[in-house]
Amino acid sequence: MISHEEVRRVADLANLALTEEEIERMAQDLSGILAHVDKLNELDTSNVEPMAQVLYDAEPTATLREDAERPGLGNRDALANAPLAGSGYFKVPKVIER
């Protein structure tokens, strides 16, 4: 069973501000799912290579290209969905106190 404290620790890592109600629910849900995930330990995988890549069907260098300049998205488009922007930058609440 995942403790409330552990849920808070993970929520912190995930940048989620969960309410007390959400923490209670999350502890239950995660415990249920992780109990099912424990099934993986029935398998001996000591001689199995992890599948880190799904498929690769070409030469190792096939995805490389010449290091030539190309137009990107552009500053205006990149900022177009920002909740707050100015002078070509994303704006966020003040980070450094004077």
Partner: protein, 475 residues
């Protein structure tokens, strides 16, 4: 509306209608029908009419307008469309206007396809019922009190109700095949890397696929050929040449070796099992050789998937932090608080659950026990398929253990909801092509899909088998 790609081609060439007339008619019909199912989140009349006019002008010059000329297409709202709202069915992106087009979208429009709107889905494609949309659930056109499946429920429903001829969806753990099965349409998950993921909002990058929906197998084959192939903007997109699938659909599948995985028939509702076995009988009549096979690691697939998919999701969804993507909590005064409150207000319960699970399994001390372990089990699942394909050309089985369930029926039990993906998840883990083709209805009138899986890059045999079955049964 019961058009196919071919009937539209014929209609345009014989001047029965123009592409613009068809686009206007489709939009009017889709907008009128939408309150019944909530399949669409956004309609794109300006874009659709402009594209249809381009098709009409090309035809007027007696030039080739492309293989999808004038065909109305709906696009799942996790796929970016430049200048058009792309919400991922999330409150976080309710006002997000995509700054570029997905490669699949560009290819559809270059082929003359007419994008008429964006379809509803589970938030960030996380779910099996489309009940996790921030903009309300989708209803199944075949039974309005039932879910359409998910996460691409809107795309499946749009094709089923005839408000689009084709649709694009995305599949990470069954999100194309399961809604196709529930709504009674054809849905295809191609080989991993077959279709560029550029412009597909990332959920679990090693599992995400874009895939077609249509009523006929042939139409999905044409759509897949259009969107498939190497794209330098997605380094995981495959170099393998893309054959002309539709040209090879001649109904002849004599001698094809078909495997029935016994693990896919355990715990299957009898009404679904009966339809699947009837379909297998039909394939035998067509001259296929059927034998039982084993995919022994199937019982571990859900556990494996929910570790890998949530781990990747927790990383991919970290970008929604209130800085770049429209929504920002106004109450926060510090940067850290702004991240937290924005994400807490913005994500729905299922996204939070998966972000939490993924963060947990990747957190210090747990990586080897969960993520690395799951990657090893994934290799075993993939090996099961590789060994099976030494004996058979194709594998068939059910898509889902049961037909469409009622809205609300499973929403409070995440594990039960996850377990419903048991037959679709292994195909995604292995990265092989797989599809759902309609194989009849239960006594209650609920559609059921037959799943067909083939080896990497062999979409051809998958389409040949599905098409031969569809011709023989007219289901």
């Amino acid at each position: 509306m019961s058009h196919t790609i071919d009937s539209i081609r014929k209609g345009l060439h014989e001047k029965q209608f123009s592409a613009e007339e068809l686009a206007r008619e489709t939009l009017a019909f889709a907008e009128a029908e939408n309150p019944k199912t909530n399949a669409y989140l956004t309609f794109a009349p300006e874009r659709a009419i402009a594209q249809a006019r381009r098709v009409d002008e090309t035809l007027a010059r007696s030039e080739d307008p492309g293989p999808l000329a004038g065909v109305p297409i709906a696009v799942k709202d996790v796929i970016l469309t430049r200048g058009l709202r792309t919400t991922c069915a999330s409150r976080l992106l309710a006002n997000y206007i995509a700054p570029y087009d997905a490669t699949a979208v560009i290819r559809v429009e270059q082929a003359g396809g007419v994008i008429i709107g964006k379809t509803n889905c589970d938030e960030f494609a996380m779910g099996s019922s489309t009940e996790n949309s921030a903009f309300g659930p989708v209803r199944n056109p075949a039974a309005l009190d039932r879910v359409p499946g998910g996460s691409s429920g809107g795309s499946a429903a749009a094709v089923a109700q005839g408000t689009a001829v084709l649709a694009l969806g995305s599949d990470t753990g069954g999100s194309v095949r399961q809604p196709a099965s529930f709504c009674g349409v054809t849905g295809v998950t191609p080989t991993y890397g077959r279709v560029s993921r550029y412009g597909l909002t990332a959920f679990a990058s090693s599992l995400d696929h874009i895939g077609p929906f249509s009523r006929s197998v042939r139409d999905s084959a044409v759509l897949l050929r259009t969107i498939a192939g190497r794209d330098e903007k997605d380094s995981t997109s495959a170099f393998a040449p893309v054959p002309d699938y539709a040209a090879a659909l001649n109904g002849d599948v004599r001698g094809m070796k078909i495997g029935l995985p016994k693990e896919f028939f355990e715990g299957l509702a009898s009404e679904t099992g009966d339809l699947i076995m009837a379909a297998v009988g039909e394939l035998q009549k067509l001259g296929c050789e059927v034998r039982e096979i084993k995919l022994p690691h199937t019982p571990y697939a859900i556990a494996c998937y929910y570790v890998i998919a949530t781990a990747e999701a927790s990383s991919n969804l970290a970008r929604y932090d209130g800085v770049r993507y429209t929504a920002r909590a106004s109450s926060a005064s510090t940067l850290a608080e702004m991240y937290r409150v924005t994400r807490d207000e913005g994500f729905g319960p299922e996204c939070k659950r998966r972000i939490m699970l993924g963060t947990y399994v990747l957190s210090a001390g747990y990586y080897d026990a969960y993520y690395l372990k799951a990657q090893k089990v994934r290799a075993l699942v993939a090996r099961d398929y590789a060994e099976a394909f030494e004996q058979v050309d194709a594998i068939v089985g059910p898509v889902s253990p049961f037909p469409a369930f009622r809205l609300g029926e499973k929403v409070n039990d995440p594990v039960a909801m996850y377990l419903s993906d048991i037959y679709t998840i292994t195909g995604d883990l292995a990265g092989i092509p797989c599809m759902s083709v309609p194989c009849g209805k239960t006594p209650e009138g609920l559609p059921v899909g037959l799943q067909i899986l083939t080896r990497h890059f062999n979409e051809m045999d998958m389409f040949r088998l599905a098409d031969a079955y569809q011709r023989a049964t007219s289901l």
